[in-house]
């Protein structure tokens, strides 16, 4: 399924755990530093309503005065668990892309505010960088450094799996419970 930004709440509510989606449009990166910054009351000079936040610290190189993305896979999302639900509400996000999944607080936030968690393939930095057609710019670059900055990216057909939906479904909870049960039998 194609997801084009800005994404409507109806489209998000139609998604379920296990769906394969491809994101096209504008995506902003944001990871540890920016989540804490927003939690501490900071605000960003960008409008992300209906948008997508990508947990990613890309490799960026300036070539002929233009930023070029050399590698851009997802980073572990669990570190943003204390802040994510609040950030989803504050920025009006419709999707968060990352890896490894998130916890109950974020799951509840997805349900309340109409958002999904999209799992990109961790480590697949080249396949995912190929989907980035243009680096539009960055904010907080000086303050946070390149990996932690908020990069504005134009993406095409960025592949992800819905692993947490807006109906309370979480693949991560399911797999953890199943694997815990399986291990108990094998010990």
């Amino acid at each position: 399924m194609e997801l084009t930004t800005p994404i409507s709440e109806d489209v998000i509510r139609s998604l379920h755990v296990g769906d394969l989606v491809e994101v096209t449009g504008i995506v902003h990166t944001g990871r540890d530093a920016v989540h804490k910054f927003l939690h501490d009351g900071g605000s960003l000079p960008v409008d992300m309503r209906g948008g997508v936040l990508y947990h990613c610290g890309p490799v960026m190189v300036k070539e002929d005065g233009q930023w070029v993305c050399k590698a851009a896979g997802p980073t572990t999302s669990a570190r943003e668990e204390p802040y994510q639900a609040e950030v989803i509400q504050k920025l009006g996000l419709r999707a968060v892309i990352g890896k490894g999944g998130m916890g109950d607080k974020t799951l509840a936030g997805c349900k309340e505010f109409g958002c999904v968690y999209l799992h990109a393939v961790g480590g697949a930095a080249q396949v995912l960088a190929e989907c980035i057609k243009k680096v539009r710019g960055a904010c907080m670059l000086e303050e946070f450094g390149s990996p932690e900055a908020v990069w504005e990216l134009e993406v095409e057909e960025f592949p992800c799996v819905v692993t947490m939906d807006s109906h309370g479904g979480s693949l991560h909870k399911e797999v953890f419970a199943r694997s815990k049960e399986a291990l108990a039998k094998l010990l």
Binding site: G100, G123, R178
Partner: protein, 294 residues
């Protein structure tokens, strides 16, 4: 010196962009084993496409080029400081070229050095080898996602019912796999150390990651445990990326060092599927590449 620096730069480039064959081979088997048209298969296909693309473009397999861990075996009397200087220069240049991400952050101020250089980064592990004629330099780039799911157990541990024996070690290792789920970018490889103090135990667990995936442990008991851990982990259904599926681990390597009577540590270092580990044998002055390892 310039020759050494250039050779180390090439080692960094290869490590960041080209997967070692022993890991590739196991990943090919993993894709074959996975059920078709599942999210697990999607993950593994993406991984394979990514490996090919990174090598073709000579760009990082993963954007998190991680901790930079140099392991050097050199002749007695070789100058470690000269090596470190050349390596630091190579690291800074590799960062500028985009083979490495800017990955060295001041822990107090949050300021990124921008060069990968700073207190504690990169790290060097030197070993002198009597009679060696050349320098054996191996490099691991270990990303933060997998580093964060590493775990250290102090046995006995009643939470997981682990006593001070190999059965207890097995419980600790499998618990680490369960807790890691897909967060360390599975399917991964475990480097394990039984024994040591807290610091040496973790350090030695990472040294296990220098072993080729297809080697066998010379200790029969540990060899059996290595095989069994992989087989058992792959029955847990965690799968690639934690999506569910057949391959949770690609390998497990276990080493053992002596401990204090009072301590019994089991340390587990998790390496992601993007197992960036390369090595090179250089002439004694570092100026000439004799051959590539792995």
């Amino acid at each position: 010196m310039a020759g050494l620096k250039d050779n180390l730069l090439e080692l960094i480039r290869r490590t960041s962009a080209e997967m070692p064959d022993d890991v590739n081979r196991v990943l090919v088997e993993a894709l074959k084993a996975e059920e078709k048209r599942t999210t697990a298969e999607f993950a593994l296909k993406t991984i394979h496409a990514n490996i090919a693309l990174a090598a073709k473009k000579s760009q990082p397999i993963c954007q998190d080029t991680g901790s930079i861990l140099f392991h050097v075996h050199g002749p007695v009397g070789s100058d470690q400081l000269v090596f470190e200087e050349a390596a630091r220069e190579a690291v800074a240049e590799a960062t500028k070229k985009g083979f490495l991400r800017q990955n060295s952050v001041d822990s107090l101020t949050g300021k990124n050095s921008g060069t990968n250089l700073g207190p504690g980064t990169p790290t060097f592990h030197f070993t002198q080898v009597r009679g060696a004629t050349g320098m054996n330099v191996r490099l691991i780039l270990k990303g933060g996602g997998c580093e964060n799911v590493g775990a250290q157990y102090s046995l006995p541990d009643s939470r997981i019912g682990a006593d001070r024996d190999l059965k207890g070690c097995r419980r600790a290792i499998l618990d680490a796999v369960l807790q890691a789920q897909g967060k360390g970018c599975g399917p991964g490889v475990l480097g394990v150390c039984i024994g040591g103090d807290r610091a040496t135990s973790y350090a030695f667990s990472k040294e296990q990651l220098l072993r080729s995936l297809d080697d066998r442990n010379p200790n029969a008991e540990l060899d059996a445990l290595e095989q069994e851990i992989v087989a058992t982990a792959n029955q847990l259904g965690i799968g690639p990326m934690g999506f569910g599926g057949k391959t949770t681990l690609l390998g497990c390597k276990i080493g053992v060092v002596n401990r204090l009577p009072a301590s019994y540590f089991v340390s587990i270092s998790y390496m992601c599927w993007a197992f960036r580990r390369r090595g090179v044998v250089l002439s004694a002055d570092g100026g000439k590449i004799e051959r590539w390892l792995y």
